[in-house]
Amino acid sequence: MPSAIPALPFYLLVTAIIGGALMTIFSRNVVHAAFWLLEAMVAVSGLFLLLSAEFLALVQLLVYAGAVAVLTLFVIMLTLRRREDAIRPLDTSVAAAGLAAVFGIVTAIAVGGFSPLPARMPAAAPGIAQFGGELFTRWALPFEVASVVLLIALVGAVWWSGEDEDQ
């Protein structure tokens, strides 16, 4: 680990993220699961803060914690008619857990087997203005492509939710 990152907060946040993810999977109540998801996302934004990427932390909070998690909760609440419907059967697949564990171990060994990471992080994370500048100059094309992707998603959503006036 680069020494620039304080060890204790990092491990706390990581524990929170992994714990939140696990709880999302293993909660029997889907509403609880959504909240655990929210917790994990907030913790990720904390990780960004720890890396001095304030803008990303902000975006993470706004988009994922704010929009995505809230949207998820809305959908769940709107589709549930009774309280009992929120309880779901758990899919406890050993195979899946095993796969995840193996994958984690392999990756960990690979990553752990190599330190320090070579690429130097910028001494100071770029500010929001700098970020914006980059985004609309050098990264303009990916940005635009991303908007096209969203447009496609929009068209798809409209198509699927819409009525077919032709038929």
Partner: protein, 461 residues
């Protein structure tokens, strides 16, 4: 200004997509207007792409460069999209609303075209998503059909998993080399981490190409989808996918020892699984899905050789595969998806039957059609790289594949049941012209392999 000219084909595609989306408000009304606009737009994109030609100018920093390989791929993509939309225009009403289909196809094609020029991981990923995203919708385009929706959902979920895997790998790559530019990736010094990153990255591409063992989505998705969607999804985006794979493997392959072995394994697995599973299929869409897996196996074999000729061969073959497989799906869309639907095609529509034969023969690799020269070039590259037994296996499988492809031929030509002609009042000449263009392309790409290769051969020099 010059740089905008360079991406003019994509801009034209985007513009026609938007135009097609709002075709209803245009003064010219009609069900097929959107498709006609799209076809014209894509054709224009093709012309512009060829006119602009290859260049060494890098756009948007180091993001985008249209070398001749990219020009070939984007021209082919635009051309195929144009033919597809032409067919759609001819067959419009029978496949539901053409407006959305046209828009989605154009946007996917645009994504694919950009993807073929992408030299940056971020752009590569985004364009890949742009090229794939419409496919989910197209697969589930028939809103009333559960199987289509199920296929779409399956495709979506699996595709997302592999996309995430890819993203994960890309994150490592970025972490290791400090850049997302393909030209700047340096993973040599990172031992197993570099390997893992490389493998994770190409897995996403392999899954998009439906290479075994990442192919599970394709039979279900294709068999559930309306055939006209399969026509597009199974063919056009694959060209850019292969180009992207060429680029990534081209950068990572020399650095990561063993990556070619991965490719080889996947190639052989794809050939074996695809060719075996395609036997006995009664649904042409499923058959084509599995045979598509097999063809991707051949492609990967060429790439596994790690030579320049192999890369050229793979891209060439991607086109040689896309044209007939799209055209076969046209016919399937018009006639029905099962082998029984093909019965007596010869007596109903002799020209379609003969065209179908040519397409299938090209897929088998019978000279002098496009598929033959593709295979010849690919396999000679692979053989040159020392992959003797896989190549022998590939050749053997090519021959064997005639066994299942000829199931279609037998139905179409020897089927005893002359089914009552389905009335298709909405079909018009444009659909036939589209098939004819595919036919012509299948033959000419073979007979005139020279010019095509000279475009491609320039690419990697």
């Amino acid at each position: 200004m010059r740089s905008y000219l360079l991406i003019a084909p994509e801009l034209v595609m985007l513009a026609s997509a938007l135009l097609a989306m709002f075709a209803d408000v245009l003064p010219v009304r009609g069900r097929r207007v959107a498709a006609w606009i799209g076809a014209a737009g894509a054709a224009a994109a093709l012309v512009i792409a060829l006119a602009v030609g290859p260049g060494s100018v890098t756009l948007f920093g180091s993001m985008l460069r249209f070398d001749s390989l990219a020009v070939f791929a984007r021209a082919a993509t635009a051309g195929l999209t144009s033919v597809y939309l032409l067919w759609l225009a001819g067959n419009g009403a029978s496949v539901g609303r053409t407006r959305e289909a046209t828009t989605l196809a154009l946007l996917a094609a645009m994504g694919a075209m950009l993807m073929s020029g992408a030299r940056d991981l971020v752009l590569l990923f985004l364009t890949m998503e742009a090229a794939t995203m419409p496919a989910y919708v197209l697969i589930g385009f028939d809103r009333g059909d559960e199987r289509g929706l199920e296929g779409a959902l399956k495709y979506f979920l699996l595709s997302m998993v592999t996309s995430l895997v890819m993203l994960y790998g890309m994150a490592f790559l970025f972490g290791m080399s400090g850049t997302t530019s393909l030209d700047g990736l340096r993973v040599t010094a990172f031992g197993s981490l570099g390997l893992i990153a490389a493998v994770l990255t190409i897995v996403g591409l392999l899954a998009k190409l439906a290479a075994a063992p990442f192919h599970y989505w394709s039979p279900d998705a294709y068999a559930g989808a309306p055939a006209f969607s399969v026509a597009f999804v199974s063919s056009v985006p694959k060209i850019a996918g292969v180009v992207a794979l060429v680029r990534v493997v081209g950068v990572l392959g020399p650095q990561v020892r063993g990556l070619t072995d991965v490719m080889l394994t996947v190639a052989v697995a794809s050939m074996v699984i695809g060719n075996f599973a395609a036997f006995g299929q009664k649904d042409v869409r499923r058959l084509m899905a599995y045979s598509g897996v097999a063809h991707v196996g051949y492609l990967l074999l060429a790439l596994a050789g790690g030579t320049e000729a192999g890369s050229i061969g793979a891209v060439l073959y991607a086109v040689a595969y896309a044209v007939p497989s799209m055209a076969i799906m046209f016919v399937v869309a018009e006639e029905g998806p099962t082998l029984d639907d093909m019965d007596g095609l010869l007596s109903r529509r002799p020209l379609a039957a003969w065209a179908m034969l040519v397409f299938l023969l090209s897929l088998v690799g019978v000279p002098p059609l496009a598929g033959f020269f593709g295979k010849l070039y690919m396999f000679s590259a692979a053989l040159d790289a020392g992959l003797v037994w896989p190549v022998v296996l590939a050749f053997a499988f090519s021959a064997v594949s005639a066994g299942y492809y000829f199931g279609i031929v037998r139905s179409a030509f020897l089927g005893q049941r002359p089914r009552a002609v389905r009335v298709r009042s909405t079909r018009n000449r444009a659909a036939d012209v589209a098939i004819a263009i595919c036919l012509l392309a299948t033959v000419l790409l073979g007979l005139l392999a020279g010019p095509m290769l000279s475009v491609l051969g320039y690419a990697l020099r």
